[in-house]
């Protein structure tokens, strides 16, 4: 990842398993920063207008292989990166990302892609100033998602890997492997680990404290 170029903005990303509560946390962080009058921009994984239709079709019709699954998400990311994330950073914004390249690093490696290849393909992306990793025991994450026996999606459950014919079993195995990847990356990329078993407002207090501590928020206030 490259941070050769100095930018006035700051980049904050949240990562974690499905069910870790990361989206709630970044939503609350966003609300707080807006309330403070900060210039802030929020973007989420897999949301590029240009690419989303292709990804949706690929998933629905199960057309994706490990390699094309990785590349189509990289395409989506590149579109948002070039047209939103980087310009916002250059324009002096706080940019909040619900999932960043690490989501691909984790999932695509589990799918059997060479981690070096996946990282190189995302080599253009800046390293975030803070990555919050919402960590919780696998069983808790699983029970949060599986409690109501929801309808799981094919790729979400890692069914393409042939781990188990049962979609719930497959989801469990897939999530455990993704978690192992996150744990490895926590050191490699210096994630800020948040205990996601704690009450939501406690976690948020910690998150806000860290943001206020590491980023001079006064610089982002006023003049929007």
């Amino acid at each position: 990842m490259s941070n050769h170029e100095q930018v006035p903005g700051k980049l904050i990303a949240v990562e974690g398993l499905d069910g870790s509560g990361k989206s709630t946390q970044i939503y609350l962080l966003h609300q707080w920063l807006q309330g403070l009058g900060c210039k802030v921009f929020f973007t989420e994984w897999n949301s590029s207008e240009l690419v989303r239709e292709a990804t949706r079709k690929g998933k629905k019709r199960q057309l994706l292989s490990p390699a094309t699954f990785s590349l189509i998400h990289a395409t989506d990311f590149a579109d948002r990166y070039d047209r939103q994330i980087l310009p916002m950073l250059k324009g002096g914004y706080l940019v909040l990302c619900d999932r960043y390249t690490f989501t691909s690093f984790a999932r695509d490696s589990v799918r059997g892609n060479d981690p070096e290849w996946v990282r190189a393909n995302y080599g253009f992306a800046r390293r975030p100033d803070i990555v919050f990793y919402f960590k919780l025991p696998l069983e808790i994450a699983l029970s949060r998602i599986l409690e109501g026996r929801p309808k799981l999606k094919y790729f979400e459950a890692g069914m393409d890997l042939g781990l188990s014919p049962d979609i719930y079993d497959s989801f469990r195995i897939f999530q455990s492997r993704v978690m192992a990847q996150y744990d490895l990356m926590a050191d490699e990329f210096g994630f800020t680990v948040v205990d996601a078993t704690r009450p939501i407002h406690n976690q948020q207090k910690i998150v806000r404290g860290i943001v206020a501590d590491r980023i001079d928020l006064a610089r982002f206030r006023g003049k929007v």
Binding site: L50, V51, E53, A54, K57, G58, L63, L64, S65, P66, A67, T68, L71, I72, A74, T75, A78, D79, Y81, D82, R83, R111, G112, N113, D114, W117, A120, N121, G123, F124
Partner: protein
């Protein structure tokens, strides 16, 4: 048949050692006669009794329509285009090229990763990044680059289409407001990039300024040699 391999490593699920057939690539700019030559080669090979499968760029079931749409608009960044094309490429590699080779067919590729790399690099991509992106591609058994002088190219393009194509003129790069000037400049840059790739990936340049028949005969002679060599190893 020669042992297949990928440049660095195969994509997950692809086993090059289980592939037969031949992968023959014809590269060259639009209006170089590429499509005509691949069609003629396909007919010729079928006459000789070989099963032929034709592939190209932007033909994947996965993203070809979406990529086409994106190129009609004005929001596609060069990097997004690179990755979109890479997605299209690997989808075809895995779903068209690999199955055809597994069945022992001759795959004729109307352009391959080299056009994609050249285009990206001319648009400012880091060559290492782009080559890494395609490092999971199969190494072709033969690559022929149809070289046409920019002057001939512009004449052929105008004659057959009556206008210049936006992307093939590199208008997105903004080198010149003049389409003609931009076309000639862009095609020169692509040609330079192919010269660099020619060394790195060792492919054969064919003088396609000559008539279709002469050029086609030249191609057939070269492909025949590759075929004889491959058959001798059987």
């Amino acid at each position: 048949m020669p042992q297949k391999k990928c440049y660095v490593a195969p994509p997950p699920g692809v086993e090059p050692s289980k592939l037969g057939g031949l992968l023959v690539v014809v590269e060259g700019p639009d209006s170089s006669g590429r499509s005509t030559h691949t069609r003629l080669l396909s007919e010729w090979l079928e006459q000789k009794g070989f099963a032929v499968s034709q592939v190209g760029l932007k033909r994947s079931a996965l993203v070809s329509a979406e990529l086409e749409n994106a190129m009609m608009g004005n929001v596609l960044s060069p990097r997004t285009m690179s990755l979109f094309y890479a997605t299209d490429f690997y989808d075809q590699l895995e779903n068209s090229i690999v199955p055809a080779l597994r069945a022992g067919s001759i795959v004729l590729a109307d352009r391959y990763i080299f056009t994609l790399i050249a285009r990206d690099v001319v648009r400012g991509a880091n060559p290492d990044w782009t080559e890494m992106l395609y490092s999971r591609a199969l190494v072709p058994d033969a690559v022929y680059y149809l070289a046409v002088s920019p002057r001939n190219l512009v004449e052929r393009t105008l004659r057959s289409h009556g206008c210049l194509d936006y992307w093939e003129s590199g208008m997105d790069i903004g080198h010149s407001r003049d389409w003609f000037e931009s076309f000639v400049w862009y095609q020169r840059r692509i040609r330079e990039e192919f010269r660099r790739l020619e060394q790195r990936f060792r492919f054969e340049t064919i003088n396609a300024n000559r008539s279709v028949r002469t050029t086609q005969n030249d191609l057939r002679k070269r492909i025949d040699a590759v075929l004889q060599q491959a058959l001798a190893k059987l």
